[in-house]
């Protein structure tokens, strides 16, 4: 029995092992770049660890970091932890072992990042958190993050103003993000603040928790629209859920451009390529934009300052901006989604 039956399995195992080796090699190449020698060659070396590259925003930030670092002749050590804080801690330790001059980190959450900050502090290496702050800690670090609540409040205030043009009393729905994500909570708070500012003219009939899941957004919004067919304003806590909004409104015959009868006033947050295209087409009224280029520049500047003996501030706020149909043309160059949309054409 054995000889001719074992051989195919051995060959199969060999092929599989070879394949796995190729995949692992490819993963290694994608995960980190730069050489150990870079850290001692006189060029500044910065370790960059992202929690994920799962959305256009993170990819845009990643690309912007690479471009800005290349302009300044900075070597980047790159790593992605795929949502695993333990893996990210290992990546930070690797950066420190490789004598990085600074670390830029996109953490998974505010709690698990604290040991990473402390490890960097112990090694005397400056660390900057990009876009997501840490929980309260006395460990030294700099956060560059948007003021989600303020940008959202301004965006929603604009949306309410638009909606009230056709109806003084507005029924609104919000697609809430993942409530364990500080950014989602900030956006929810900004939405509620704008509604409160509107002084009772807005009736929020659905607060739909999506967990950043398009299918939940679709299901929740479909149900909300069946319960309240006269919803006049929808705010999506992230632009990437607009396709779900479009699907639901199309099925209900309410996917209309601004100015057309039956138009539902739509707004979001991020300023991604989908939102940009829908704004150009006239369906989305406004979106709060995180200024990814500002955030990347500020993060690099903070590291450079620290390496030159200047203490960077603990928090650098990305003021962001509200992109509306009125200012769209003038803010196109600052809108990262517009650039991504053009690259995708």
């Amino acid at each position: 029995m054995t000889a001719h039956r074992i051989m195919p399995r051995t060959r199969f195992l060999f092929v599989l092992a070879a394949g796995a080796a190729v995949v692992l090699a490819a993963c290694g190449g994608a995960g980190e770049s730069g050489t150990a020698g870079d850290a001692r060659s006189g060029r500044l070396t910065i370790g960059v660890a992202f929690e994920t590259l799962q959305t256009e925003f993170w990819v845009a930030a990643w690309n912007a970091l690479q471009a800005r670092a290349a302009e300044r002749q900075i070597t980047l050590l790159e790593a992605v932890s795929d949502g695993d804080p333990a893996k990210q801690l290992d990546q930070v330790r690797t950066f420190l072992t490789r004598r990085a001059d600074g670390i830029i980190l996109v953490p998974k959450d505010g709690k698990t990042v604290i040991p990473m900050i402390k490890a960097a502090n112990a090694a005397g290496v400056p660390i900057v958190l990009l876009n997501r702050p840490a929980d309260a800690t006395d460990a030294a670090h700099t956060v560059v993050a948007p003021d989600n609540a303020t940008i959202t409040r301004d965006t929603v205030a604009y949306l309410i103003q638009q909606a009230r043009r056709s109806n003084p009393r507005v029924k609104a729905a919000i697609l809430v993000g993942d409530l364990s994500d500080v950014n989602a909570v900030g956006r929810r708070d900004g939405f509620e603040a704008a509604v409160a500012d509107a002084g009772g003219s807005v009736d929020v009939v659905a607060r739909i928790p999506t967990d950043w899941n398009q299918e939940k957004a679709l299901a929740g919004l479909q149900t909300a629209l069946q319960a309240h067919p006269d919803i006049g304003l929808i705010f999506s806590s992230s632009d990437f859920m607009f396709p779900s909004v479009k699907s639901v409104l199309s099925a209900a015959g309410r996917w209309k451009k601004a100015g057309e009868p039956g138009h539902v006033v739509l707004g979001g947050f991020d300023g991604d390529a989908t939102a940009w295209r829908l704004m150009v087409d006239g369906y989305v009224d406004a979106t709060g934009v995180q200024d990814v280029f500002f955030e990347v520049d500020a993060a690099l500047r903070a590291i450079l300052d620290a390496t030159q003996g200047r203490i960077p501030p603990p928090r650098i706020a990305d003021p962001g901006f509200v992109l509306t149909q009125a200012n769209r043309a003038s803010l196109e160059a600052r809108t990262w989604g517009a650039i991504v949309a053009k690259q995708g054409q």
Binding site: L16, E56, A206, L218, A219, T223, A227, F240, P243, S250
Partner: protein, 333 residues
């Protein structure tokens, strides 16, 4: 002294998941008169259609004592590929066929890992989950792929006032249950799940049976992906994420055992999937606090699993009594 179980009691015990779904529907129906409307129920079933199909495939795997954690990733790879093809101008039918093919191929890879390399299903499919998500991101370049409007046609078309995805999901689930309860293949799956070694000794080709369920599960993931994509009209980098857990939850809620050998697609898994969607939809209609969703959903799941556990304990007890028949004189005394 023991009594034979009344057929009504047995029937009620077996219908516990259905009864629970009925209670949940009734409770939410009391909250809002629109909840039990035909329009809403039809929409609810359409929302559940992709999960119904994926959970059906998952039920096959669970029945054998295995698990497939890669279904969401397989959906993503298929959708990313189909999205690319659709944007290049290929037809909806071709894209759907590609997604189905990707699903079957993903299932075949899992089947090889589990049956040829003898990897534990959890580990093998966890690996393909990560590979799949990486592959999908690579294909989509982590960009949202917004598909042409005609891609939504499948989801928005109705036949006899029922959305086409519901017909597709209904056909799949009925066919799956027919295979499970009406064919030697189905009965062998239960045997493999109950005791793999005994099934092997009985002469069943357990390797082929296991391979078949992973291919079926992959195919269902591909088809579920088609239905989900038709509803969303876009592929985001999170497409299909955590779908495996919803599919497993739906199957378990419907009475499928995680240890194999026990479970049904109809009514079991179907009820589980619809129950999950009903809870979410009901909470939206009741305008519940977003923080309450997880609490209420987990409480209902807990009750469902508890009732299922009690049901099986009672049924086991009843079965034991039937086996140990007492002398007629004593029973009558």
């Amino acid at each position: 002294m023991t009594r034979d179980p009344s057929p009504i009691v047995l029937r009620l015990l077996n219908l516990t998941p259905v009864l629970l779904l009925g209670v949940v529907l009734l409770l939410f129906g009391l909250q809002s008169n629109r909840f039990l409307s035909g329009e809403h129920l039809s929409g609810l079933l359409a929302q559940a259609a992709p999960l119904l199909v994926v959970a059906t495939g998952m039920t096959f795997v669970l029945l054998t004592g295995g698990v497939d954690l890669s279904v969401g990733a397989v959906m993503f790879v298929g959708a990313a590929l189909a999205g690319r093809l659709a944007l290049d101008g290929h037809s909806l039918a071709f894209c759907a066929a590609v997604m189905l093919g990707v699903g079957l191929a993903g299932g075949l890879v899992n089947a090889l890992l589990v049956t040829r390399l003898r990897l534990v299903a959890f580990v093998a499919t966890l690996a393909t989950l990560y590979i799949g998500r990486g592959l999908g991101r690579w294909i989509s370049e982590t960009r949202a792929l917004n598909l042409p409007d005609d891609f939504n046609a499948l989801a928005s078309t109705t036949w006899l006032h029922v959305p086409v995805p519901v017909w597709i999901a209904g056909t799949i689930t009925v066919a799956a249950q027919a295979v499970l309860s009406g064919t030697p293949f189905g009965r062998r799956l239960y045997a493999v799940g109950a005791d793999r070694e005994a099934a092997r000794k009985a002469g069943f080709d357990t390797g082929r049976l296991l391979a078949a369920v992973y291919v079926i599960c992959g195919g269902c993931a591909g088809l579920g992906g088609v239905l989900a994509l038709a509803q969303l009209g876009a592929v985001s980098p999170r497409f299909g994420e955590l779908y495996e857990f919803d599919a497993i939850t739906a199957a378990v809620l419907g009475g499928t055992s995680l240890f194999g050998g026990r479970g049904r697609v109809l009514p079991g898994t179907v009820v589980g999937a619809v129950l999950l969607k009903t809870i979410f939809s009901g909470l939206v209609m009741a305008h519940a606090n977003p923080y309450a969703y997880a609490l209420i959903t987990s409480a209902i799941i807990f009750v469902a699993v508890l009732l299922d556990s009690l049901r099986h304990r009672v049924l086991r007890g009843l079965a034991r009594r039937v086996i140990r028949l007492e002398p007629a004189g004593q029973r009558d005394a």
